[in-house]
């Protein structure tokens, strides 16, 4: 009897609704296009299509921009453009590894803490998050670098170990909130096993938080990498925007800005695009967003 006047769109899940909203967000889509462009550059570097010669000396000291060297050359005559392009791959690698792993760890531990809210497990996890948040970041990275004897992934591990806590706290809070909702009680009433309740009814409803957090951590990871590499605590083998800026910090005093500008502008573009995409994603996924 109530099968009257059901609105037009059929089978509209919350996901398709969010995707539709995102697709209509023009700034968000432009930002996404930029991100994808950078990603293509990074993929190309990995596949060896371009910038494979970033470490070769191909010119003189501090050459100006030219057709051969689009952004000129550095102190020892390496092509700045190739180095900047190659660094895109480094940035993506750091960003992806850190964002994905920190999100996964944060989601898992946050969900556990939230589900065992009030028990000792929750207390221990909360304590761990508090501890990790209270260690100065650079010191923590340095400590891990020391402890891991110059392992190339020391920086990644340090970032993951500190970044997951923010995800963990958010997910913990959300799980506690969702556990009190009536549909979880309804699942209990039909004897759905606890772990199925977590997997089927609770975690899927935290994915919007995870997606947004992952984009935010991607950006943080790229920005941290640059500073850590500059300080000599980050990327050891290879090239990154941070190392380029470290190189350039001597050059700028001598009036040569190409290295600095190339790294800065490329990095700014990626971070800006990602920030804007992250905002659009958040708008599209936010269930209570009005106006």
């Amino acid at each position: 009897m109530s099968a009257v006047a059901i609105p037009a769109v059929r089978r509209e899940s919350l996901w398709s609704k969010a995707a539709w909203k995102l697709a209509r967000d023009r700034t968000g889509m432009i930002a996404l296009a930029f991100v994808l462009l950078y990603m293509l550059v990074a993929v190309g570097v990995t596949a060896g299509w371009w910038a494979a010669d970033w470490s070769e000396v191909r010119g003189g000291k501090w050459e100006a921009m030219s057709a051969a060297h689009w952004f000129g050359t550095n102190l020892i005559g390496q092509d700045i453009f190739a180095r900047a392009v190659y660094s895109t791959k480094t940035a993506f690698e750091v960003g992806l590894v850190v964002a994905v792993l920190a999100t996964v760890i944060g989601a898992a531990l946050g969900a556990v803490a939230g589900f065992f809210n009030g028990s000792w497990i929750d207390e221990v996890l909360l304590w761990l998050m508090g501890v990790l948040d209270s260690i100065p970041f650079y010191l923590f990275v340095a400590a891990i670098v020391f402890a891991m004897q110059d392992n190339p992934y020391a920086m990644h591990i340090a970032m993951i170990s500190t970044f997951w806590t923010s995800v963990g706290r958010l997910i913990r809070g959300e799980v506690i909130k969702l556990r009190g909702l009536e549909y979880v009680e309804a699942a209990h009433a039909i004897s759905v096993p606890e772990f199925v309740i977590i997997i089927r009814h609770i975690l899927p409803n935290t994915t919007h938080i995870l997606l947004v957090q992952a984009t935010i951590m991607f950006v943080s990871a790229i920005k941290s990498e640059v500073i850590l590499s500059f300080l000599g605590l980050g990327v050891k083998d290879g090239m990154s925007w941070g190392l380029m800026i470290a190189e350039s910090s001597q050059e700028v005093m001598a009036g040569f800005f190409n290295n600095f500008l190339a790294a800065s502008v490329l990095m700014f573009g990626l971070v800006m695009a990602f920030n804007m995409f992250s905002d659009a994603l958040q708008d599209a996924l936010d269930p209570r967003k009005v106006g």
């Binding site: 109530s2 899940s13 009536e182 009680e185 699942a187 039909i190 899927p204």
Partner: protein, 329 residues
Amino acid sequence: MSGRDQIPLLDVRNLTKYFAVRGGLLRRVVAQVRAVDGVSLSIGKGRTYGLVGESGCGKSTLGRAILRLHEPTSGEVLLDGHDILKLRRSELIDRRRRMQVIFQDPFASLSPRRTVAQIIREPLDVHRIGTAAEREERVIALLDDVGMGAEIRDRYPHEFSGGQRQRIGIARALALEPDFIVADEPVSALDVSVQSQVLNLIAGLKKTRGIAFLFISHDLAVIQHVSDEIGVMYLGRLVEHALVDDLYAAPKHPYTKALMSAIPIPDPKTKRSRIILKGDVPSPMNPPSGCPFHTRCPDVMEICRSVVPATINVGRKDLPHHVSCHLYS
């Protein structure tokens, strides 16, 4: 009153549920909230027990404690004579098939990222009832039972109005063919014109399927329509219980009288004297001594302040009318 001398379907004896309030550095229990304080009631097969009371009186907690969604502090809940509070978790799973629940908030009671079919099928999946094809058929039949068409099976909850969601929630509760359903304020979040639709649906289910209900509501008008008998709760205790017509014709407890007289009547010609209670409901963390209602009772006597009134039957033996009030002892 058939079945009066047989074992009732559900017999709740002296059920209590206290919530501990913790405080201090060592998180010691500093106080107890007596949400449900020694409630006894029984519900026969296919009958509807209406439980009425104002917010914070413990009626929802009682419903959840009976289902063991909140673990009761003490007491017994006998289903066909077997105490379900003594069951281990694994044994409880099987017993849960017979007891289901319908919730108040239609927007929070359905999992938002699952389709209607998935939601209604879940109990069948969990209890491994029938083959996949049979389950699909069941879902369609259940949707039909609650007045919804099969074409909505692949839609998501957010596409429906409150009344439609409530129907889906009812279909889920019916999936396991329970004998007993706790309906916790199932219409109070709905608009008035939709309330009646859902009430009719529930009344129909009771009639056609012989399901017993514990129907919890704050609204005496709503509860009158669906109930056979009614219990009135105040501060965690049952203060009056009678068959529905008895209670409406001759309420005994001063609180019941005040509650009934407070309902606005949609008829401008009816003018009546209204009992206006003084003050507010006391905190269940710190309930008054003696009769819990004595702080607001218009007929309060000296004895009410110190002695908890016993529950006595002021009706006939075959037509009991229980009341806990010193006025009648």
